[in-house]
């Protein structure tokens, strides 16, 4: 038998002490920290005991237990329990504490992580009422725990809270010769510093707050098992936190622009996919990118991270040119018009960008051309002749999205020029069988033209290495990883980066003078140029991968451009760019189980939300509540009303309002004195636990899941008020009145906590709560620190402001009216549209891919059962086109006679369409203007 130990390793203290206590004969060999003793372990593991059988024991507790057993002392069940507790609860906390004290040199913060376990130890010792952990004699449990705690408990500078029973018990061990001798051998009389070289070699322990969420084998269904029991230790810890004061740290509200990365802080650069400028965004667009990114940015600021949140409109490309043609404006005018519309919509939704820019700027040209030249210099570009589809009747080259045909891979009849919606494979437009121009339905011809390609195959290895690292260390949603993997599995192919268009960033190469960059290459560079328009020091964010963490928010259709294509551009440019570390992609949001459609007027678009008279905060809440996180979800009016009435009004609003009203009505507006009973402590622990879950989830950008924990807290609060009935107790004797006071005081403090947790979701309501309670702004910077610190922010005597209800009921008739208003403009007797398999209209407008024009979208309407489906289809197309024409004329304020003539044509077409669909040619009922 031979024992291997190393100096300065705290685990070795245990085995050396056990050896001394048992008096077992055994060789001890001192080795280097890094020495590999156990042959099958890839990391050095000390202490290790080589058994006579030739096997190695590599766990210090198992070694101690063995030494005791050899000495004739079997370990009892209670002993087992202590050893398991030591390994699973105490050890992680101890390692974190030692790391904080020894490596970071912040001894004063040790109590934060150790106090919980020490408190439970103290309670057990005081309950057990025996001198040692398992009874009247020293057991292996005592030795292991003494040794484990020896470094921290024998150092008086760590300021650990008073735990009397622990101290008495510990001192019994500390005086034993065996301990002093073992400690001398390991720590060399240098105390904590004796472990420095060992601790520095250990990977930084995951802090307790994220330990649970990083599990790769966690099972979500676990939540249903057994009831959560709140332990004494949890309660004590919650009470301890509660009694801490507010921070007077920097208020999170003042932001100094320009925000730049700071030393010693987490620097997070947050982007949301750039919305395409030619359309008004719908709810699916809003939840998919800007709203999600906004919630996370607001949360990050509460966590005192240094955040920069940028976004802007993506303005170049065919779709803009097309829209301009439609509306009789120049592309620039279209961009100006829609940029303003986007800005105002996001403002109404309280999207708090640090900067909302656009891609049609000088900086865009400068940076895109720089990246282009770098790629050129490093030989990642190749030239090739491309066969392109050109529509002779429209007189232009067709962008991929403007051509449709049969998929060459799966024969899906409506494949787009760039990708098939059915099989998801990428397509070259010329490979489509039976191609059609989506605008005029003519067959395009193939023309050849010289273009530049990004050599993705050459960058593939580099990309994969980077992806391995980024996806394993960062927070990538499952869909983002899966989509990326499937792209790589098929192998990368060179991708064309130039286009024969005018509205775009010009290609600077003399041989390609007449061309512009293709949007997928150009648009993501918008993130950089928008930042550059925000600050001259933009490179501190974008060429600083060591200091900056980049979060990209988007809907899933945008993933490949952010995980494969754009990173390849940046990797190839070789200028130390900051690459995406966390890629957060949502699934699709459907509208009432169908899809959003601008052309059919189905769904709610950004500019219409405010006309519903439903507050922006309630919109935010509901969209976040149904955020398509992990799976598709649906927006439904009835559900929105239900969630508003049940969750906001009856749960959250009701609790906060009652808490505030009790203070006003029963205690003259001053927070009463609180004397915490067992039940209150239990509630504090429950609330603390929910807060901790909220933080863990938000840290991982699980925005929808985190919201549930806010609502859980107010549910706990409502139950608490219901059970304690302060409105009755206030009329009772002094003790009862005191009880009413405590319940009221605790409740109103929970309301304060809720105001902070709500801030990312409902910023206005959050501020209203603080105003009503007259709560200090400093609660914002206090409550979300570390694992969550629920402190008593409003202490006895604090005067609250005027309390009033936060939410309003959504009535059935109001909701029915809205549902009708937004259900589209098709005749009421029209049979319901079949759900199409592809849900592209409900997704976020891709930043890097032009959206289908409105006319094209109308063609996606599924065929209906009618007399002549083929003809009906053509007519639907014609109706849509004619409708667009009429709208364009109206926008341009054309001559009334001209408009009337066109409207007559439109009505005639509609009549024909109805006939073709086998319906009576009644004119569609006149609808009010939809805006």
């Amino acid at each position: 038998m031979k024992l291997f130990v190393s100096e300065g390793n705290p685990h070795c203290l245990k085995v050396l002490a056990a050896l001394e206590v048992c008096g077992v004969q055994c060789d001890v060999q001192y080795v280097n920290h890094e020495e590999k003793v156990v042959p099958f372990l890839s990391r050095p593991a000390l202490p290790a005991l080589l058994l006579s059988s030739g096997q190695h024991l590599f766990s210090s507790n198992a070694i101690c237990r063995y030494l005791f057993e050899v000495n004739g002392q079997d370990s009892s069940e209670l002993c087992n329990q202590w050893l398991e507790w030591e390994a699973t609860v105490l050890q992680p906390a101890l390692l974190e504490a030692l790391h904080i004290a020894v490596v970071q040199g912040k001894g004063s913060e040790v109590s934060k992580v150790l106090q919980g376990p020490l408190n439970s130890l103290d309670q057990s010792l005081s309950k057990g009422n025996t001198p040692y952990l398992t009874g009247k004699a020293v057991s292996v449990a005592d030795v292991v725990l003494w040794a484990a705690l020896y470094p921290v408990l024998s150092d008086s500078s760590l300021a650990l809270g008073e735990c009397k029973c622990v101290k008495t018990w510990f001192d019994r061990g500390a005086v034993m010769h065996s301990f002093q001798s073992a400690a001398q051998k390991v720590l060399q009389g240098k105390g904590l510093q004796g472990m420095k070289s060992f601790m520095q070699r250990q990977p930084a322990p995951r802090s307790s707050q994220c330990r649970d969420t990083q599990q790769c084998n966690s099972n979500p269904a676990e939540g249903d098992e057994g009831e959560r029991v709140v332990s004494e230790a949890e309660m004590e810890a919650a009470v301890l936190t509660w009694s801490k004061g507010l921070n007077d740290g920097p208020s999170t509200t003042d932001r100094q622009h320009p925000i730049l990365p700071q030393e010693g802080k987490r620097n997070l650069l947050v982007t949301s996919a750039l919305p395409y400028v030619n359309n008004v965004p719908h709810l699916g667009n809003i939840i998919g990118c800007v709203l999600s990114a906004d919630v996370f940015s607001r949360y990050g600021r509460l966590r005192d991270w240094n955040m920069l949140f940028v976004c802007g409109t993506d303005e170049y490309g065919t779709a803009t040119e097309n829209k301009a043609r439609e509306e009789g404006l120049t592309p620039q005018q279209i961009c100006d018009k829609y940029h303003a519309i986007h800005s105002s919509i996001y403002k109404w939704f309280q999207i708090d960008f640090d900067y909302f820019g656009r891609t049609t700027t000088e900086k865009q040209t400068e940076i895109a051309q720089d990246i282009f030249w770098r790629l050129h210099k490093h030989d990642f570009l190749m030239e090739d002749t491309v066969e392109q589809l050109r529509c002779e009747s429209c007189q232009r080259f067709l962008a991929d999205r403007f051509v449709e045909g049969i998929c060459p891979h799966c024969t899906y009849p409506e494949a787009r020029g760039d990708q098939c919606d059915k099989c998801g494979r990428l397509i070259n437009a010329v490979e489509l069988r039976e191609p059609q121009c989506k605008v005029c339905r003519q067959t395009p011809v193939i023309r050849s033209s010289k273009h530049l390609f990004l050599d993705l195959p050459k960058l593939e290895t580099q990309l994969e290495q980077w992806l391995d690292k980024s996806t394993s260390t960062g927070d990538w949603t499952a869909n983002a990883k899966q989509i990326t993997r499937s792209w790589l599995r098929d192998g990368l192919k060179p991708r064309c980066i130039t286009r024969d268009l005018k509205w775009g960033t010009p290609v600077p190469h003399p041989d390609f003078k007449e061309k512009v960059f293709y949007v997928w290459f150009d648009a993501p560079i918008g993130y950089l140029s928008i930042t550059a328009n925000y600050t001259d020091k933009w490179e501190k964010w974008w060429k600083n991968p060591d200091q900056v963490e980049l979060y990209n928010f988007m809907a899933k259709d945008n993933v490949p451009f952010h995980s494969v294509v754009f990173p390849c551009s940046l990797l190839g440019a070789q200028d130390n760019y900051t690459l995406v570390g966390h890629l957060v992609a949502t699934e699709y949001l459907n509208y009432e189980d169908t899809k959003f459609s601008k052309s059919r007027g189905v769904g709610v678009f950004g500019d219409m939300a405010k006309d519903t008279n439903i507050p922006s905060d309630v919109w935010r809440f509901y969209l976040l509540y149904v955020r398509p996180e992990g799976q598709d979800s649906a927006f439904s009016w009835a559900d929105m009303a239900t969630k508003n009435n049940s969750e906001l009004l009856n749960n959250l609003g009701n609790f906060i309002n009652r808490a505030g009203m009790f203070v006003t009505k029963f205690f003259d507006g001053c927070v009463p004195v609180m004397e915490l009973q067992q039940e209150d402590k239990k509630l504090l622990a429950l609330v603390g636990w929910e807060l901790q879950q909220y933080i863990q989830l938000m840290d991982k950008v699980k925005i929808r899941d985190a919201l549930k924990h806010i609502l859980n807290i107010s549910r706990h609060g409502n139950q608490y008020i219901q059970v304690n009935e302060p409105w009755k107790k206030i009329k009772g004797e002094d003790t009862e009145r005191l009880r009413a006071g405590t319940v009221t005081g605790v409740s109103v403090n929970i309301a304060c906590l809720l105001s902070v947790m709500l801030f990312p979701y409902m910023p206005t309501v959050s501020q209203t709560i603080r105003d009503q309670l007259n709560a200090p702004q400093s609660i914002i910077s206090t409550m979300l620190q570390g694992n969550g610190t629920f402190v008593c922010a409003l202490s006895a005597g604090h005067r609250v402001g005027t309390v009033s209800p936060l939410f309003q009921k959504l009535e059935v008739d109001q909701i029915e009216a809205l549902k009708k208003r937004f259900s589209g403009q098709q005749p009421e007797d029209e049979p319901p549209k079949k759900k199409t398999t592809a849900q592209k209209a409900a997704n976020t407008q891709p930043a890097a891919v032009p959206a289908p024009a409105a006319a094209a979208a109308a063609a996606e309407v599924a065929p209906v059962n009618g007399v002549d489906p083929e003809k009906a289809k053509q007519l639907t197309q014609a109706v849509a086109e004619q409708g667009d024409k009429v709208r364009a004329l109206k926008t341009q304020k054309a001559d009334k006679a001209v408009i009337t003539a066109e409207v007559t044509k439109l009505l005639d077409l509609k009549k024909q369409l109805a006939l073709a669909e086998g319906k009576s040619p009644e004119p569609a009922p006149q609808k009010g203007k939809k805006k």
């Binding site: 042959p39 099958f40 372990l41 890839s42 990391r43 058994l51 006579s52 059988s53 096997q55 024991l57 590599f58 766990s59 507790n61 198992a62 070694i63 237990r65 063995y66 057993e69 050899v70 069940e77 209670l78 087992n80 329990q81 050893l83 398991e84 507790w85 390994a87 699973t88 050890q91 995951r206 330990r211 649970d212 990083q214 599990q215 790769c216 084998n217 966690s218 099972n219 676990e222 098992e225 057994g226 009831e227 959560r228 029991v229 332990s231 949890e234 394993s472 636990w689 901790q692 879950q693």
Partner: protein, 173 residues
């Protein structure tokens, strides 16, 4: 998870009366409320208790040495395997694969609860492995397949198909 493992162990041991468990803390540590005295806390502690109750001491190891090895793997399960990250997972599988190179069971020459609980703990990792990855950890896979087919062990977990038939034994012929 832990509670289901304990009830599977009860069935394996043939204990007549199922025990009632609760959980503690946010990690849902299992708690066994016994009739006589203080409750037992912790998966390993309760598992060892059940084995003793069923008088199947051989499942804890048949010598001091193998008892120590059993305890070590049980500890490994609750400290390293539970809650491991993707990176740690690779190391764990690699190390275990090397360890099992010349072994049929984790401790000694018979099944112990170290096998049972390492199997339960590693199941979610194995489920997610691709066939190629499983072949990378061939010893783990062999052991895993053996344990999942050991009578009375699998209970609450779905079986995992682990090996595909190899037509060619090596890559270079």
């Amino acid at each position: 998870m832990a509670l289901r493992e304990l009830s599977s162990l009860e069935k394996f041991l043939g204990l007549k009366k199922p025990n009632k468990y609760s959980t503690q803390g946010d990690k849902k540590v299992p708690v066994l409320q016994s009739n006589n005295g203080a409750p037992l806390v912790g998966l390993v502690t309760i598992a060892c208790h059940l084995v003793k109750e069923a008088k199947r001491l051989e499942l804890l190891g048949d010598s001091a040495e193998s008892r120590a090895v059993v305890q070590q793997w049980l500890e490994h399960r609750v400290t390293k395997l539970d809650g491991c990250t993707k990176e740690e997972m690779k190391t764990i599988l690699k190390d275990l694969n090397l360890y099992l190179q010349d072994k049929v069971y984790l401790a000694g020459n018979q099944l112990t609860i170290a096998d049972t609980f390492m199997y339960y703990g590693i199941h979610p990792l194995i489920v997610d492995l691709a066939i190629q990855e499983k072949e990378q950890y061939v010893n783990v896979t062999r052991w895993f397949d053996h344990i999942q087919h050991y009578p009375g062990i699998r209970h609450h977990l779905p079986p995992v198909a682990v090996l595909r038939n190899r037509i060619y034994t090596g890559r270079h012929h």
